[in-house]
């Protein structure tokens, strides 16, 4: 053995063996396989009694059973590399032994991770099957879905309308409030104070209460113009009040994150404070806050379902009518699915933007 090999061997001795993870991986695989396959068999039995879901359940059972086969490869790799590592040790090749051991450990952890994910998914299926698959019938009854989905989806248009209009207004209103909070000088202080009071108040009060107060309170108070708002516009107004406060804070953080040297550079050219804000600071700040802004917008979209408390007929209101008539929540599941459907692309988009910013920062 060369000196180098001795050193590597000495070092590898401290990095631990492979028997532990590989054995754990094997155990996890066996357990997962049993659990998944038992569940798959139960699914196959339950399928004929689930009406419209018959084929879907069979497909899920098959897919689950097949998915477990994917666990075989990494677990076999883990065990085999472990054996190779032991053989290499016998041959005195410490470097190769270390490499095999590392591969064995990696494969073992891949197996254990996949088992964990598979188990969680299977538990969900078991939950649906509980109590003679009552859970599935309560939340995913096919006949209820087919009765309600069209009306619910049509009513979802109301949610989209409220969200869209509110978002456009919030975009401008939030910026106005943020600039007011940052108003410079002695003259700016009263404005900054009133803007801060607004932000503090509307970030504290739950959106559902603002909607309730605006939707019922303004007509009661008989305020001119405001009291004649339709429930839809009252909802928009309330959401703008609430989310305007959140978005103002997002903008403010963005503006404050622009280095003061940018302000100095612009002012030193003779640009006034408003011109500097408009051409130099705000454009840079807006680029930075797009991801958190979109996050707030996703929150706003979800909160459109709160308008049901003032009688605006949105998707949730519509779904509740079905659910109370038929004592079944599947129509509400449809609403949930609609929100998932519109939100996922947006969250992915935000992730992409964040990843891009991250890359840029690293490139600097």
């Amino acid at each position: 053995m060369t000196l180098l090999d001795v050193r590597s061997a000495a070092r590898s001795a401290t990095t631990g063996g492979t028997a532990g993870p590989a054995a754990l991986a094997a155990l996890a695989t066996v357990g997962t396989l049993c659990f998944v396959d038992v569940t798959a068999i139960r699914l196959v039995h339950a399928a004929p009694r689930s009406g419209g879901w018959h084929w879907a359940l069979l497909a899920i059972a098959t897919a689950g059973a097949l998915a477990t086969l994917l666990l075989i490869r990494p677990v076999v790799t883990a065990v085999r590399r472990g054996q190779q590592a032991r053989k290499a040790v016998e041959l005195g090749d410490a470097v190769a032994a270390r490499a095999y051991r590392s591969r064995s450990r990696n494969a073992a952890w891949v197996t254990i991770g996949s088992c964990a994910a598979t188990l969680i998914a299977t538990f969900f299926v078991v939950f649906l099957l509980a109590n003679d698959h009552a859970v599935q019938r309560t939340f995913f009854a096919p006949e209820m879905i087919s009765i309600s989905w069209w009306e619910v989806t049509k009513a979802f248009e109301k949610n989209l309308f409220i969200a869209g209009v509110a978002e456009v207004i919030v975009l401008a209103w939030g910026l106005v409030v943020a600039l007011a909070r940052l108003a410079p000088g002695r003259a700016g202080r009263p404005i900054a104070m009133i803007a801060t009071a607004y932000v503090d108040a509307f970030r504290a009060v739950p959106a559902i209460i603002v909607i309730y107060l605006v939707g019922f309170g303004l007509p009661l108070a008989g305020v001119p113009v405001l009291s004649s708002m339709s429930p839809t516009w009252a909802a928009i107004f309330a959401l703008v009040l609430t989310y305007g406060a959140y978005v103002a804070e997002v903008y403010r953080a963005g503006i404050e994150s622009i280095h003061p040297s940018q302000m100095a550079a612009a002012r030193s050219l003779g640009l006034s404070y408003p011109a500097t804000m408009r051409h130099v600071i705000v454009p840079q700040a807006v680029r930075r806050v797009i991801p958190p802004l979109l996050n707030d917008f996703i929150g706003l979209q979800k909160d459109t379902s709160l308008v049901t408390v003032i009688g605006t007929v949105d998707a949730f209101t519509q779904a509740k009518t079905y659910s109370s008539n038929y004592f079944n929540l599947s129509s509400v599941t449809v609403v949930a699915a609609l929100f998932v459907l519109i939100t996922i692309p947006q969250t992915r988009f935000v992730d992409r933007l964040l990843a891009r910013d991250q890359r840029r920062l690293q490139a600097r």
Binding site: A264, A265, R267, S268, L269, G270, L271, H279, R287
Partner: protein, 247 residues
């Protein structure tokens, strides 16, 4: 009366008195170099002249007008007094051309075409007309600093302040920036600059001022200040510079 005149200027940050009575006169078409150890107040002095920092005491006059104190129209003053920073401070969301034309268009109300024609001419002079459409992060430090100089020049400032404009540059990029300052000096641009480049100061300066703990200890022609300083602290400072291989 001199073109730019600073009298008894004092400036504190809280307890710390950074400038302790500065008297300085700059004639038209002159180049004044401020030298001195880091932290002696060079940047603060330049920022005061540009009104980026309010002054506590004293007076600044430009072409006879008092341009310091309450009620000064700082935006008006800054049209006449341009400044270039050590860290370039270009606007990263704008192209080179937009960086240069922003102020002339907003303040001098030039049309886009006029402003762009002027900007391209200036960029040509610093060898960057090919980079007009580029964004700052696509340029080298030296190129960015040249754009920053052009951005200041586009407002036709009567005085140009340069604050250690080569200190943030890699050594091989220093020459291209100093070359432009040299051309500006030859063209008669009035300049007040803080620098650590002593041989450059010797070459372009009409007057060199040695700043120490907020006062100008010694000033005079470069041969005298850099060659045969009388103040022991100036001598000590120059010795350190020579030891660092910067002279």
């Amino acid at each position: 009366m001199s073109f730019l005149e600073i009298k008894g200027l004092r400036k504190s940050y809280g307890e710390l008195e950074v400038l302790r009575g500065i008297d300085l006169a700059v004639e038209q078409h002159q180049v004044i170099c401020l030298i001195g150890a880091s932290g002696c107040g060079k940047s603060t002095l330049l920022r005061c002249v540009n009104a980026l920092e309010p002054i506590d005491e004293g007076q600044i006059r430009l072409d006879g007008d008092v341009v310091s104190g309450e009620g000064t129209d700082v935006d008006r003053l800054r049209r006449d007094v341009g400044i270039v920073f050590q860290s370039f401070n270009l606007f990263p969301h704008m192209s080179v051309l937009d960086n240069v034309t922003l102020a002339p268009r907003r303040i001098h109300r030039l049309s886009r075409e006029q402003a762009q024609a002027q900007a391209l001419e200036l960029l040509e002079r610093v060898g960057l007309s090919g980079k007009a459409a580029a964004y700052p992060d696509q340029l080298s430090g030296g190129q960015q600093q040249r754009v920053a100089i052009v951005r200041a020049l586009a407002m036709n400032p009567r005085v140009l302040l340069l604050d250690e404009i080569t200190s943030a540059l890699d050594p091989e990029l220093v020459a291209e920036v100093l070359g432009i300052v040299r051309d500006l000096a030859a063209a008669g641009q009035t300049m007040l600059l803080a620098t650590h480049e002593m041989s450059f100061a010797r070459e372009v300066a009409d007057t060199v001022c040695f700043l120490h703990e907020g006062v100008i200890l010694e000033q005079g022609p470069p041969e005298q200040i850099l060659g045969a300083p009388t103040e022991p602290r100036t001598q000590a400072f120059l010795r350190r510079i020579i030891e660092a291989g910067r002279l």
